[in-house]
Structure formats: C-alpha cells, structure tokens
Amino acid sequence: MDLFEKLYRMTAIQDIIDHPQILLMLLIAFFLLYLGIKKQYEPLLLVPIAFGMLIANFPGGQMGVVKIDESLTLYQIAKEHGIMNFVYYSLIKTGFLPPIIFLGVGALTDFGPMLRNLRLAFFGAAAQIGIFTVLISAVAFGFDLKEAASLGIIGGADGPTAIYTTIKLAPHLLGPIAIAAYSYMALVPVIIPLVVRFTTTKKELLINMKQQDKLFPSKRPIKNLQTLKIIFPIAVGTIVALLVPSSVPLIGLLMFGNLIKEIGATTGRLYKAASDTILNAATIFLGLAVGATMTTKAFLNMETILIIVGGFIAFAISIAGGIMSVKVYNLFAKKKINPLIGATGLSAVPMASRVANDIALKHDPSNHLLQYAMASNISGVIGSAVAAGVLISFLAG
C-alpha cells in the first residue's frame, strides 16, 4: 500500500487536484499549440512558447520560471531551481537572446526595397505612435511607467524588441507581453484589413504605386546597389549608436547580421551561421523560456487581461498612425502614396507587407506594392527598436 501511495505521490495528479487552476493553464497551452500547429500562427515561436508553458505548469518538473535570489551562481540556479530557470536567468534575464535574434533577422533582411524608396521610411516612424499612446493609457489604467512602456511596445509589432524592452523594464510581465506580441503579429492578416477598412477609402486604396513612379520617376536611380547595401548597415548602425545608444544591442546586431549577408562569399559562413543555426537555436531557447514564465501565479490575473486588450489597441493605433501619416503626406505631395504603405510601418516583417499587397491586389490586380510596403516595413523595425531604446534610456534603472 505504501508503494502505491509513493507511486501516486510521484505523479503530478494530486498537485493538479490541489491546484485546479493548473488545468486552465494547460488548456491555454494546448490552445496555443493548436494555433501554432494547425492554424500556423507564427509557428516558429508560438509552438516553443506554448510547449514551454505546458511543461512549466506540471508541478514537480521544476520547469516553471520562478522568482529567485539573483545573487545565486548559475550553477546554483540550475541545481536548486532546474534547467529552465538556468536558461531564463542566463539567456533571457540578461537580455542576451533578443539581440541574437536580431542578428539573424538582420541576416535575413534585404534593405534593397528601402534604399530604392527611401522617403517611404518616414511612415515607419509614424507607425510607432501606438507604442506611446498606449503607454499613456496604461498609466491611466494604473500600470506604473515601466509596465506601461512594456505594454506599449507591443504596438511596435516586433517580438524580440517587445521582449527586450520588457526584460529591461518589467520582467514580471514577460510572459503575457510576449504572448500578446506574438499573437497579434500572427493576427496581422486580420488586424490590418480591419483597421484599413475603417480608415481608408476605396479611391485611396486604388493609388497605383508603379503608375505614380512612372508619372514622377526617381531623380536619382541607384547605379551600384550592391556597394550601397554594404555601406548602408555600417552607416545606420553608426547613426543609431550615436543618437540612441540604448538601442544598439538590437540595431547594432541587426545591422551586423545584414552586413555579413551583403558582403557576400567572404563572410558567407558567418551569414549562414547567423541566419540558420544561431537564429534557430536562439528562437528555441527564447520561446521555451518565455513560455516557462507563464505559470498560474504569473499569468492568471487582471494585468494579463489588460495587457492582451492594451496590446491590441497599441497594434491598431500603430497601423492607423501609419495610414494617417500617408493621408497627410498625400494632401501636400504630387506623387501620391497608397495608404497601405503606412499600414506596414509597424514591424511584423514581411507579413504586414504581404497583407498590404494582397489588399491592394484585391482592389486593383495590377497594383503590386510589395516592394514599396517592404520599405516602410523595414524602417518600422528600426523605428520600433529606436522607440524601445528611448523607453529604456528614460525608464530603466
């Protein structure tokens, strides 16, 4: 009988009976796995996050991230609190993984479309308005400034940036903010058309970017794009480092990743490592560890609901902000711009651009604006990282 009792105690069943809220967390994890696997919503990140959440919520597994005395050595953390806490406190809490992911993103980014349409980069700035307006609203709702900034950064639509900012400002909110950021990024094909429907007219959506280019051709066509693509990341990295040093961990590695891609064969091995092995390994550890922060205690509370709602509002305002800035521009410019270009000013590369392109093609089958959308989309990545740098500079410490 004693043996059976020991066997029963070995399982997690009694703990789950004692704490039934665990079941709710497991259901949420299963639902997120369903979204990632079956619906293919950002599966590369949602699947590790959901699985991390699943294994973190089984009692006794020591896979949930807990608040610990940070003066412990990494060896002590691993020994006393399990390997997931080791991963979290060494790779996430130190802010190591998000910049590493930016390195990989940089290696996969092509600045060509942005260089060909530089003026469209401004709409990547306008689309950051959601970050700051939600920051203000969140403060009004009772969040402190650091928490509000972490919530607002969801509006930047950039997962690593949201995670990096939250680690620096409000690490206790990391789980729900990461889930909100990645869920809304996955829902870009739903959110952008929704905002576009309420903020644009059919006439505006019919603005054909290629026709506008023919009517008003570029005064300065690029003669040597390859050389330009090599110099550009060095120049941008330098400018950002000079003006907003706190965003350098993100922008610096983004630009370095891009540089080793553009140099070509001589740095081909570095490019391959950054865009493949390093990015994939970082994504796995980031996803699992962020998921493991979502334990019942950290996740099932009013703050999480407010973060989910606030994140959506930040997202929607950012898209609307980009669209409105194009509308204002069109009031004064001869060469008109399709407002969908503004809608892609938030990050979420390249999905936002693809969605904008699809909407444009629905209204005019000849209106391929993917390349134009990518220009503001990529500048949005820079814009959101700079916004994050500003928030960290002012609020961290």
Binding site: A125, L135, I136, K223, F232
Partner: protein, 80 residues
C-alpha cells in the same frame, strides 16, 4: 499625475527621436546613393555578368562542382 506627465513627455521625445533617426537614415541613404553613383560612373559601367564569358565560365564551373555534374544553367540574371 506625475506619471501621466512623464508618459506625455515620453510620447513627445519618443516620436521626435524616431523621426529624427529615420530622417537621418533617409538623408544618409540619399547621400550614400549620390556618392556611390558618382564613384560608379567614374569607374565606368561594369560589364554585365550576363554577357561576360569569364563570368559565365565561372558560374558554369561552380554549378558543375556544387551539383556534381547534375545541374544545368537555364538562365543567368543579375540579382538586383
């Protein structure tokens, strides 16, 4: 109230900083285009890889090695 005024300040500073940084990125990009264009025109137009027999031979040899003789080139186009 203090927090709200700090949040409003952050809205102003944040948006201005993002605009200024991207403005500088645009200006730098335009300057670089101008410089690179000038240097490129000084060097003359480089021969197109499509028509250069040396380039075609190099590509053919590379494809031969990588595909172990199984690959076939049907089209050569500049990437950009």
């Amino acid at each position: 109230m203090d927090q709200l005024s700090t949040a409003l300040t952050l809205l102003g500073i944040g948006m201005i900083t993002v605009f200024v940084v991207l403005l500088l990125v645009v200006l730098t990009g335009n300057l670089l285009i101008r410089i690179v264009n000038n240097l490129s025109s000084d060097e003359g137009t480089p021969p197109s890889g499509k028509d250069d027999p040396g380039v075609i031979a190099a590509i053919t040899a590379a494809v031969e090695i990588v595909t172990q003789g199984q690959g076939r080139i049907t089209k050569i186009e500049p990437k950009n």
